[in-house]
Symmetry: C2
Subunit: 410 residues, 2 copies
């Protein structure tokens, strides 16, 4: 059993190191129907004009506007109906002086017509249409290409594909689109004490928590988790498991980073690649390790989280999540929504010299700090979010505003 061997770094320094890790973004083509919440990887230009044809934007009669000049309720003008055109039809007759065609909203405007008179200001008997209001040329008509012309930029690379944006892409008939591939993140829980759900709980054993909590947190960052089985805390088991995930973009382990675990993960990463960080002056999560492992396609980034579930999740949110959102291309969208300014529900004492991540339960606009040690599981059951106390702050007063990061991922 070793003693303290960490080289504690300032959180800001660690964040700089993480920011400097660059990772090539892969692009894949997927069906538009699978594109929800993905990020567009290339600019998309309109493949067709929108609307694709001159069309009526109201139910009514397609006319030559000039025919209607002077029309009023007292003095209706009579036009001969020559055709009925519904949305989806293709007109077969040209509207000439003295004639009109019935059009539904969205129907193509027949040749010759330059305006639509709303049905509400007309009357019809047999094939004679009474027009009771004059219209100017262009009224209730949308010209081909007036929304966007073929070839114009429809949507920029980097756009988050919401329901509305997917609708806009489907308007030009696209079936497949280029999006950033979701980074693959292997999630490995290490520990001789860990067992899987529904296994028998023998003395000294614990149900594995981090496989589930970290895998789901990975999903919330727009990445795809690969959940591993539990790995024993010995050099060969850990090295072999890490080796088997060298195709992943990122590997996240938990456990095995503290002095008592015999420093195994550190040895493995040193032998396989390079240690960038081992020890962060934060609470909880001090013994965190960050390294890179060389691979054909560049480096695999490895984050070694502490084993305690609260510590693992806090370090994930504070350091790993921004990196994952960045390589997934969803950072700017998530950051916009994730933090809320809330009032602290009670006085909070921190320790100078280390940043603190504090879990909170949210009630209305109050954030109640959860004052349990990082081994407490019920803290996870209660937590709605967390805030960070900077290292130079010792006391935060009740009622002070804190910037709370949500844990909901919605």
């Amino acid at each position: 059993m070793g003693k303290e061997f960490l080289n504690l770094m300032d959180p800001d320094e660690v964040k700089k190191i993480i920011d400097s890790l660059n990772m090539e973004r892969k692009i894949e083509r997927i069906n538009l129907s699978d594109a929800y919440q993905r990020v567009l990887a290339e600019d998309v230009h309109a493949l067709i004009d929108l609307p694709p044809f001159n069309r009526a934007s109201m139910d009514g009669y397609a006319v030559q506007a000039q025919d209607t000049f002077g029309a009023s309720e007292d003095n209706p003008i009579i036009l001969n109906l020559i055709e009925k055109i519904r949305a989806g039809d293709s007109p077969s007759k040209e509207v000439q002086k003295g004639t009109c065609s019935e059009v539904g909203t969205g129907a193509p405007l027949p040749a010759g017509a330059d305006a639509v008179v709303m049905v509400e200001v007309t009357d019809i008997q047999n094939d004679k249409v009474e027009i009771m209001e004059a219209v100017a040329p262009g009224t209730n008509r949308a010209l081909q290409g007036s929304d966007i012309e073929k070839g114009q930029l429809l949507m920029e690379k980097g756009t988050l594909l919401t329901a509305a944006k997917i609708g806009a892409l489907s308007a030009v008939g696209l079936k497949e689109i280029p999006v950033f591939a979701k980074p693959i993140v292997a999630v490995i829980s290490t520990g001789n004490e860990l067992i899987k759900p529904e296994e028998e709980l023998k003395h000294g054993k614990l149900y594995d928590i981090n496989s589930e909590s970290i895998s789901n947190a990975v999903k919330s960052c727009g990445c795809t988790p690969l959940a591993s089985t539990i790995v024993k805390d010995d050099y060969d088991s850990i090295k072999n498991r890490i080796d088997s995930y060298k195709d992943a973009d990122v590997i996240i382990t938990s456990g095995g980073t503290s002095a008592g675990a015999g420093d195994i993960l550190r040895q493995v990463v040193e032998d396989m690649g390079k240690i960038l960080v081992h020890g962060i002056s934060v609470k909880p999560g001090k013994p965190t390790l960050i390294g890179t492992l060389p691979d054909e396609g560049g480096n695999v980034v490895l984050f070694g989280l502490p084993g305690y579930p609260v510590s693992a999740l806090m370090i994930f949110h504070g350091f790993v999540a921004p990196f994952l959102r960045g390589i997934a291309g969803v950072n700017e969208f998530m950051e916009k929504k994730e933090s809320r300014s809330l009032k602290l529900g009670r006085r909070y004492h921190s320790a100078r010299g280390r940043s603190h991540f504090v879990l909170v339960k949210i009630e209305g606009n109050i954030a109640h700090p959860i004052l349990k040690d990082s081994g407490a599981i019920t803290a996870l059951a209660e937590a709605d979010g967390y805030f960070e106390v900077p290292k130079n702050v010792e006391i935060m007063e009740k009622g002070e505003q804190v910037k709370v990061q949500s844990l909901s991922g919605l």
Copy 2:
């Protein structure tokens, strides 16, 4: 072609009618690994104590605290090491007066020991451990059940299952959990003019947008969309298609609600069930229809949205989404995160007497209204969110605060 036949209702009245539609929430049991962002449907109690055994919360030596009283760096106390216990081990020896066992963080505390001395204040030579700091009974020890006892409430019905909460559930060894079933929502686009992506675009035809935009918007409300193929605008086609989706919880159609479409949807719903709303005094989306269709298991709710994609999406967000989130059990979580207070980027003119839903593009804390008609597809491409102008407001000034609902769904 009919004329205006709508019975315009006030939006608040419509919302009340929607609120009064109750729908039984179904419960299903799923694997915990599939539970991300689902909603717990029953209270969950701890199946085991947490921690499940008395354990060390630090790396160090398990001792009888009394043995350490008086220990200091100048005056270390020597204890005989009798066993090494790592996390996951089961201790075999009892710690008695004058002895100690090495323990890793998370390792079970051996019988007889009542405290742990941190490794940092010890030294070891052969099997003699020098203790250089006194500890009180209970130091660095977590008692079995001290976090939560078997049988106590771990998580309440209605909890949104985040990464953290799933972690807490896995701590008690759960594999399956009860969650609210995702409501099934059939999405039907009607219109003779509509074609599928990659079909040839003939004159008068349009690529279908609403199937994609509404299906994805349904996903953002915690429901499962069933996308239908496109339906022609005639009585039998629409009635047969609606009939084929009577097993769904909700049916959403788009198109076929305006006067020009011949009032077909209204006739179908009248014949099959009951019209609750036909016409809302909002812009866009006036000709919206809401009805119920009787079914063995209660009523299927039908929302008939207008055909124009912007109108359809606005009515979806304003009226349908809160209903869907409600029956999916995710309303409170979504509403918390969805709206932001932003500054209006320019003066906006509305029309008294109708509520307006206005799409906006968001830049920083500015919401720029998108001033395009509801037939414009590029409005969907640009929109990040929308705000509502109440019916009694005619002008909103540049710089005024508006409550913007995000369309991102993240």
